[in-house]
Amino acid sequence: MAIQLQCNIQRGDFHLQLQTEIAGRGTTAIVGPSGSGKTSVLRILAGLDQQPDCEVAANGNVWQNAERWLPSHQRQIGYVFQEANLFPHLSVAENIAFSKLSTNAELEALAKQFGIQALLRRKPATLSGGEKQRVAIARALAAKPQYLLMDEPLNGLDEKSKRELLPYLQVLHQQLEIPLIYVSHSVSEVAQLADRVMVLENGKLQAHDDAATALTDPNLSLAHSVDAGALLDAQVIAVDAEQQLAHMSTAAGTLYSPVTTLNTGQSLRLHIAARDVSLSLSQHSDSSINNILPATIASISDEDESQLLLQLTVGEAKLLARITRHSAQRLDLSVGRSVYAQIKAVAIF
């Protein structure tokens, strides 16, 4: 199911030079600033742009090379565009059924999965942005694709619609059996949805790594964004009903989070934002912070004029901490130094 991609396009202002293999399982996020070539890669994979200087093969089948060209409609790819692009002359139900590749029972299951049963008779023009995008995803899945491609599906939406749509994408990420390739420029979306990350800049592949590594690599732009932070896989080992505290085992050590909806044994993904991590030289027992972990400073890089970004090794995990230059000077921090990482908040996905 893996996709081999090789491009060497040099045309005017447009460059795209990369060679990589996109995993045949889970979610691969393609990130990078606008103009970096993210959407181009997705369109090439889908066969929507005829780029003769690219070679694409999926699971050993050549989709395109110098001799062969497989058109979009034969590639079995689902594609969700930035705008939902529903067919305006058809109802929601007709849009979902458009490919004619799913049975009625399958269509009903999709409508249920995306919470659009009540909208089936409506015309697209009467739907909200989030509703339209849910219909678009259901429509793509109803064509039974072997790969699902999404081009910033949350981009055109307001905050409310984004919050409404994201849980559906998270469920999709957990349940989808086919690979999902997700273009995004939002670190928070990547943190919530991606298993692996391809970082593009100026049409070149900067990195292609698992999400936890890419997000905490200070050499990549992801670690320097406002929402930068570390990803940790966690398992709930105990729930303290009296204190309303969940004890979670992670590669960084045991973390505590005031969440009562969790059950013992549950696996989940944590995001620890760089801005929520502070450092101290000794293990304060007089701190209000629950999570204090011994750490070693792995690297220090400039953030801006007043702040530094520190990459920390905590147990077997990497965390990011954003602190002021002033604090770093005061604590005399340097690479290799042992410190304590104090984690103010743990976001749970």
């Binding site: 889908a46 066969g47 929507l48 058109p71 979009s72 409609h73 034969q74 079995q76 790819i77 689902g78 594609y79 565009f81 705008e83 692009n85 067919f87 305006p88 002359h89 458009f98 490919s99 590749l101 429509r139 793509a140 064509a143 694709p145």
Partner: protein
Amino acid sequence: MLAPDDLTALGLTLQLAAATTLLLLLVGTPLAWYLSRSQWRGKVLIETLVALPLVLPPTVLGFYLLLAFAPQSPLGQLLNSLGLAPLAFSFGGLLLGSAIYSLPFVVQPLQNAFSAIGERPLEVAATLGLNPWQRFTRVALPLAKPGFITASTLGFAHTLGEFGVVLMIGGNIPGETRVASIAIYEHVETLNYGQAHSLSLTLLLLSCVLLALIYRRQRVAAL
């Protein structure tokens, strides 16, 4: 009321307009689709030829058609060798002339409608597994529906009002080439104003009703 002659002329006019519109939809749809999608630079040449009847005096067009329809012309000889009747002064000739004359009125609205769809809905359909023919019939045609309504109306109405081309290539044969506009002209020439009035008024009302119906339908479709 209308004289039997005038009724025949009116019937022939409607027949000609309907046949022309049908022929133009058949020929114009693929042509308009090609023009809306083609990246070929030379397509401006085709667009020019399509638009030519808009600016050309109908008599100029009629004159060249008359020459082309002559039995000695290459077209005439071809028809003759196929055992077909010559086109000049025949309904078939009128149909061909009307079709050329009304071509831009059908092709241009269709081309605009196809262009307005943009690439995106067709790309969506492709990723949903539809082949090019399915994309055309299931996405492009339904989305271009307003364009088809406009094109049919304009094609029909424009053929109703045709005069110059018919005069040049059709003449005035009752039941064969004598359409309403020619009949009116003849009534006026022979100072038969009463009959000219009846027929003119009929055409006027017919056109009004036709346009009103289509505008109403378009408004309903837009809602």
